[in-house]
Symmetry: none
Subunit: 437 residues, 2 copies
């Protein structure tokens, strides 16, 4: 068996009650303006599944000293240190050596690993480059994690009360290695602890407005048992409340989180559009699908983005019939039946025009609901009466149900368009919730 | 003037020949599986512009001790430490206090900052919450960086041979603050060294194909004077060659880079769509604007995303007339004039249908060019003959100019849609380049 499945004889195991982790992404390409480490999102989720909390994450370049320092610091702070990258065959691949330095042990050539690499090249009928031999070097005391998807094996190196888990950088090698080798080892190493999460997604309300309502509810939950942590996140047109709880008893965590979600949803009311991770367009889709309803959209300033969002949803062809992008006023008249006189008297950005667009696209596409959007996204085109950011959105449904709102969004062109899309989807959601079909 | 524009009396200035930077993204939300710091990409590019090299970047949660430790370490290593986030009004916003702790100075309330915040609320006719007063706290010795886009001002705190630059987290506040306040200060602080960049953007060719052609050209440039570094980056439907050169003489850098861009463009040919940073939709817009031409798009599987991309461009109303999202086959027949017999005989995803859509939307919207897109984005709907990923794109122009392509894209629904959008924009670009109007 060689050194492949050798485990260290003395294993101290973790000390802390709440295990913690740090993630190190290794590679100078991740310190350019063009590349970002996304592996850490996957890893954070998986660490959380074991009840392991992330203390921090860093990117280090391919410099021996910086890497050793970063590893040493991380090992001193966290119970698990996960590295990605730096396991390749070149001189720039420093993870193996840095781990050995931090552990104060030498590396040895692992015969089984070397054989697996040679086999991989043989299968592809390619000669094995001499430099790939480096990938068979293993720090003493480390267990080797098989890599069926590449030449770089992973490493599991216990170090006092911590463990360093070294994974390859490419996601298609890293992810299966995590599932097959790391997850079962962590379960043994830490026993089963869990971190459970819930998310409330909210549209049409600002961050401070939501916080004002929610803080009196989530404040006391921090001291509950299990304790529930809350954070609030805002993006244009959307606020999210993230709740999490840690412990050994999954059922107790879920019960406590569900009760908190329920209390927060009741307090915030209709602006809460999902508590199960769904985005606005998925909620709208589910509403329409449940009723066999269909929708069409007439877009001016958003130029197709609302339809683009709706058709992101797999299976949306069942409830999105189509739409018209009426960027030019001629299109509004000819294809949506907006009366020229209304355009002339009220201007393209007006409640009458948005309403006519919604009704027009609904009639033309023969759908249950129609949405019309017209506005001034900027940077030019604003006036004193209708400055950049003025957007009018109408939703037209059966039985003379009709909603129209004039909004004034801050920010640049991209921001105004994003807020418009978000608001249109939210008005559509509210209309569909009202049993309008 | 209060403390607003007060500079520290003793400024040591940077020591190192090659200035270095570290970036700290602050916020516990960035340690969840749901959020990633992307500000650092922008910041890395801008730091590089000043010839400042990034040593590393980290994410720290909202914990006072962790933040102080991370700041202290970074200040010890790098000439510039840039932080983003943690400047808000809540208890979780710890950047100001951590900076003061690391510098060993107290904070004071800055009257000018307080006034600016109060004014901002007054302008929106909202009462200023008491907690926003925290945002007027400034560590002694720090200069305040105005924030016209939000309540959180930035901070510039020299510390021995380093400087801490604290910026707000939201990109729309952070980016203008960098351009207005940080860039000019860095130029003074470090003297002018330059890192100049060029980017060739390429559509319709794979990464390895581009590299095969480009490597013999950019290889020798590495040893030139000035030396030109090259990296190649691929995203769905687009490959980019990034060139950079460092030195004091901007003109020499620019001349060398322009010569390299010229040689590479010649070798790669028509797939190069921009060498000045423009995206595909901007290139198409410039082509159409130059000729007074107009375009309309009929979209099925991309559901409005092509129109969404085109209308991203400010001023696009001059050349985008509009379009039809024909998600339902009925819409293809009724609104685009696709013959029912063709649909029945060839199926919705066929060259005849895509061509009829392009011609139909062009006729209906009375534009110079029409684009039609139909395909199977998945996850369902594929057949043996037309598997998921099959997409047909047609461009219809005057004088019987007509292009139609059947493509087979890999990947999931999102990937197929993105590749479709990219390819449609590229076919449109090539059609417009052929002097088709």
């Amino acid at each position: 068996m060689g050194g492949r499945h050798r485990y260290p004889v003395v294993v101290a195991g973790p000390l802390t009650e709440t295990p913690t982790a740090e993630i190190l992404a290794i590679g100078s390409e991740l310190l350019t303006p063009f590349r970002i480490d996304t592996n850490s999102l996957f890893l954070t989720g998986r660490l959380n599944d074991h009840g392991i909390e992330l203390l921090g994450k860093s990117v280090v370049g391919d410099r021996p000293q910086a890497l050793v320092e970063a590893l040493r610091l991380a090992v001193g702070r966290a119970s698990v240190v996960v590295t990605t990258g730096g396991l390749g065959p070149t001189d720039d691949d420093l993870t193996r050596d840095a781990m050995a330095t931090v552990a104060g042990v030498p590396c040895h050539e692992d015969a089984t690993v070397l054989e697996a690499i040679a086999e991989r090249f043989a299968r592809r009928k390619m000669p094995m480059p001499a430099m790939n031999q480096r990938q068979a070097m293993v720090p003493d005391g480390a267990a080797v994690l098989d890599n069926p998807h590449g030449t770089a094996p992973g490493l599991w190196l216990p170090l006092g009360h911590s463990v360093i888990v070294a994974l390859p950088g490419p996601p298609r090698e890293m992810k299966p290695m995590w599932e097959t080798h790391v997850a079962p080892r962590l379960a043994v190493w830490f026993g089963m602890r869990h971190l459970r999460r819930r998310t409330l997604k909210i549209a049409g309300r600002g961050e401070s407005h939501v916080d004002e309502i929610a803080a009196p509810i989530y404040g006391p939950l921090r001291d509950g048992s299990p304790a529930i942590e809350t954070s609030i996140l805002a993006s244009p047109g959307q606020v999210e409340l993230h709740l999490s709880a840690k412990g050994a008893d999954v059922d107790a965590l879920d019960r406590a989180l569900d009760a908190a979600v329920c209390a927060l949803s009741r307090a915030i009311g209709a602006p809460v559009f999902s508590v199960d991770g769904r985005e606005l367009e998925e909620v709208v889709g589910d509403q329409l699908r449940a009723r066999g309803g269909t929708v069409a959209v007439a877009e001016s300033c958003t130029g197709g983005m609302v339809l683009g969002r709706l058709t992101n949803v797999p299976g949306s062809s069942a409830w999105v019939t189509g739409g018209v992008v009426a960027y030019d006023n001629l299109v509004k008249v000819r294809d949506l039946g907006v009366p020229e006189a209304v355009l002339a008297a009220h201007g393209a950005v007006s409640e009458l025009v948005a309403s006519a667009m919604a009704a027009g696209v609904r009639a033309r596409m023969q759908t249950d609901v129609g949405v019309g959007i017209t506005g001034i996204a900027g940077p030019t085109g604003g006036t004193d009466a209708k400055p950049v950011g003025t957007v009018v959105i109408a939703v037209d449904g059966p039985d003379t149900r009709h909603v129209v709102r004039t909004l004034r969004f801050p920010g640049d062109r991209a921001m105004v368009r994003q807020m418009s899309v978000q608001t249109a989807l939210d008005l559509l959601r509210r209309a569909c919730a009202e049993d309008c079909m």
